[in-house]
């Protein structure tokens, strides 16, 4: 290697000495072609840093809160008030242990996830939080411990020997190699001594039930209490400590969830479509609700429209509303051309919408954003391919209640653009999608 290339190399590897910096400085100053080589190398280094050391926070679950809760902005506001300094961990988490693989997603059985971690079977997983929204899924930690989750549940992957169940139900199988595997819950933790056990986090995390299916485990409360449990024994961990359940063999029936007969879920019944600014309808597909913001003149900007005919609803009695979308890949565009996080905005229109839903809708014939009211934002990391997006904002609820209508139309737009052309087109399942269900509006009384 030539001396000057070696100096660049040592500089970029952060291994250079003071004398060598002076030498490199002189060379760079006088040699344009060496500067070019330097830029190229530095640029590659930046790409590699971006690829291999994640700056994103561990948990990046889809945000359904209105913008003012956005963590970056909260931090910005706080920093501007308190003085600069604390911003680093928010904007730029320094690389830490997050980047290690600690588990594999073994199987998904009709599973829908919300997670910034990969959610396709066979993916390796780094520390982070995964929320299983529907179905059953199995995660194998590198130690060999296997956790099968039942939706809805939320698990935090911590190390190859440790995980935390924040909510939901799981069965843990621990082979010999993983004796000592720890599964914690909000109420304490269990150390596995080579067994299978079931765990269920109940009452919003205030209680955790453990039942040993085979072998033995020990339970530990935050207060320092502990208890050994053998096969078929069960116990509850709660705020007041550990309670062993006496009914050994005569299992009590599983508690059933209270039914919410009065709540309603409405679908769009075919009344959903995408529009594209240049009206090039061949770039749309009935199976997908596409959303994109491109650069330049924005010819390929896409928005999605959905309509819910709700019927007679006494809006005064409505306590909550959720608009649910299913993110699905449509195969158009590259995700690396997007910023790490894409932001979306939802607008709402009240009352009858004069739209021919079964046909192509021209951009200029569709409702404008000025005529609609913004009711929520959400974000999707570019790494996320699928998942359920739930919009549940006070703005959405109050818009529906205040307008007191039986029909509402929503427009979904992407706020963030792409780094360069050919960026990913985001897509949500329409009513016609072969696998995922279309948009729905859930109304809770």
């Amino acid at each position: 290697m030539k001396r000057e290339n070696e100096l660049i190399n040592r500089y970029l590897n952060q291994e250079i000495t003071k004398e060598e910096v002076t030498e490199l400085d002189e060379l760079l100053k006088n040699k344009p072609e060496l500067r070019r080589e330097f830029y190229q190398q530095a640029n590659v280094v930046t790409a590699l840093e971006e690829e291999f050391s994640s700056n994103l926070p561990n948990e990046n679950i889809t945000i359904t809160q209105p913008l003012l809760f956005n963590y970056k902005l909260m931090a910005l506001a706080a920093c501007l008030v308190l003085g600069i300094g604390a911003l680093s961990f928010l904007f730029y988490d320094s690389k830490s242990q997050e980047s290690r693989d600690i588990a594999t997603l073994v199987s998904n059985e009709n599973a829908a996830w919300e997670s910034s971690l990969p959610t396709t079977p066979g993916s390796t997983l780094k520390p982070g939080i995964m929320s299983l929204k529907s179905g059953v899924a199995t995660i194998r930690f590198l130690s060999g411990a296997e956790v099968t989750l039942e939706a809805p549940s939320k698990i935090e992957l911590e190390t190859p020997m440790r995980g935390k169940l924040h909510a939901g139900t799981a069965v843990v199988n621990v082979p010999e190699t993983a004796h000592g595997f720890i599964l914690s819950t909000p109420d304490g933790y269990a150390v596995d001594h080579g067994t299978a056990f079931a765990v269920s986090v109940n009452r919003n995390g205030k209680e955790s039930d453990f039942e040993v299916l085979d072998g033995e485990i020990s339970l530990h409360s935050p207060g320092g209490e502990s208890l050994f449990l053998k096969q078929n024994e069960s116990a509850t961990l709660g705020v007041v400590g550990i309670f062993k359940n006496n009914s050994l063999n005569s299992k009590e029936p599983l508690p059933t969830l209270p039914l919410h007969h009065k709540n309603i879920r409405i679908q769009t019944q075919g009344k959903n479509l995408s529009i594209i600014r240049n009206d090039a309808f061949e770039y749309l597909d009935r199976d997908y609700l596409m959303v994109k913001l491109d650069t330049g003149g924005k010819p390929y900007e896409r928005r999605s429209l959905l309509n819910f005919l709700i019927g007679e609803v006494d809006w005064k009695k409505v306590k909550n509303v959720k608009l649910r979308l299913n993110l699905v890949p449509c195969g158009l565009g590259h995700r690396v051309y997007l910023p790490k996080i894409s932001r979306f905005k939802i607008f709402a229109l009240a009352g009858f919408a004069d739209i021919q839903w079964g046909e192509n809708l021209k951009w200029d014939d569709s409702p404008t954003l000025q005529s609609a009211t913004p009711v929520g934002n959400f974000e999707i990391p570019r790494s996320q391919e699928r998942g359920s997006i739930v919009i549940e904002t006070p703005e959405l609820l109050s818009f529906l209640k205040e307008n007191n209508q039986s029909e509402y139309t929503f427009i979904i737009t992407r706020e963030t653009t792409e780094i360069q052309g050919s960026g990913l087109v985001h897509a949500f399942a329409s009513d016609y999608h072969p696998e995922a269900s279309g948009p729905s509006l859930e109304v809770f009384f």
Binding site: N43, T46, E50, S53
Partner: protein, 184 residues
């Protein structure tokens, strides 16, 4: 509670910032020796951009403006360092020269970086990719990395350099090749 107008401003800022964040960061990274220093400078840039956001007349001008701020902040950082003699940095003169030069080509560099991520990394041999991953993933301990890959320390560095050169050549080819499929 922020007013709807303030929220709108937040939203606009965040949209623009996240869109250009990676370009600005790469620009800073070309001029600043240590990764951690580059992150510090980025924080300062983010704060300045946010504080002065109301001075930006049109959103289209954000990128240009952000680069001006970035350049100023890099040079300010460089001047501050001059007081700390022990730091290993290029001279202010060289940094200024490079800031000026590299500014004009940031879009080309963006394309090349995306090409690295999109195409070129996948074309490497498994072993080459693992070496890069090991090198850039953690606070690396190079002697043990070199040993793991069966190379001397010097040999390992040279090998990494050659892999980076391969990537750089591939990136330039891909970025300048009109036949690469564009999907809109």
């Amino acid at each position: 509670m922020p007013s709807p107008q303030e929220e709108e401003t937040h939203s606009r800022f965040l949209g623009l910032f996240t869109t250009h964040e990676s370009s600005i960061h790469a620009y800073v990274r070309r001029l600043v020796y240590r990764r951690e220093d580059a992150l510090d400078v980025m924080q300062k840039i983010a704060i300045v951009l946010w504080k002065k956001f109301d001075q930006l007349k049109a959103d289209e001008g954000f990128r240009r403006w952000a680069f001006v701020v970035a350049r100023y902040e890099v040079l300010a950082w460089r001047r501050d360092l001059a007081r700390e003699r022990e730091r290993l940095v290029l001279s202010t003169e060289t940094v200024e020269l490079m800031a000026q030069e590299t500014d004009h080509e940031s879009e080309q560099f963006d394309l090349e970086r995306e090409a690295v991520l999109q195409y070129c990394l996948q074309k490497l041999k498994v072993e080459q990719r693992s070496a890069l991953e090991a090198m850039y993933q953690n606070e690396n301990d190079t002697p043990s990395l070199a040993e793991n890959f069966g190379r001397s320390i010097n040999g390992f560095y040279q090998w990494i350099y050659r892999i980076r050169q391969t990537l750089s050549k591939c990136a330039q080819q891909v970025a300048n090749d009109p036949s690469v499929p564009k999907i809109n």
